[in-house]
Symmetry: C2
């Protein structure tokens, strides 16, 4: 048993991504953001669907064509594959901890 909120290094320049569990069709990650955001003009465009939950901290999320959202503890959403999105800001102290579940889209969807 481990804890998502422990062993969080301080003053790390990059986002930290750690895979908690993985199979052929799913990848579960802990992501720690300490103020990082997506570069200007950068958009994620992913092959798999992503379920994302904020477990600590807060962040801004922009989905292409939609108003920017603020995510806080407990907020979650599903970002379907190829829906372009970017992280506009993240809380640094305490760091923002995300749980991300990447999974292969439904066959035929």
């Amino acid at each position: 048993m481990e804890n998502l909120l422990r062993h969080i290094p301080k003053d790390v320049p990059d986002e930290l991504i750690f895979t908690l569990a993985e199979s052929d069709t799913v990848r579960i990650e802990r992501i720690v953001s300490s103020g990082q955001s997506s570069p200007e003009g950068f958009w994620y465009d992913q092959e798999w669907d992503e379920f994302v939950l904020v477990v600590q901290g807060a962040a801004g999320l922009e989905i292409d064509g939609e108003p920017e959202r603020t995510l806080k503890h407990g907020d979650w959403l599903v970002i379907p594959s190829h829906v372009r999105h970017r992280v506009t800001w993240t809380q640094a102290d305490p760091p923002t901890v995300w749980l991300a579940v990447h999974h292969r889209p439904k066959v035929g969807a």
Copy 2:
């Protein structure tokens, strides 16, 4: 966008399970426990692997042949398919909120 910790009914006799996202090979659930536990002698024995995270509250988890664990906010573990387990107790107030990710085991594992 929704929040895992909102819209939690009070004084519900049963555990509440709500599917947040689902595909052919993964099912992501919010489970709300308000003091419920597994019946005496009952064991979960599941076809799929399960990743489980406590987002609020606390609970006791027994895995067959291992000492009982106490899970609190942020604690997570993976219960592989067919590893028998049971919930020995759950905190009722505030209710215990779990995120569960059930997923098909790795092919060939």
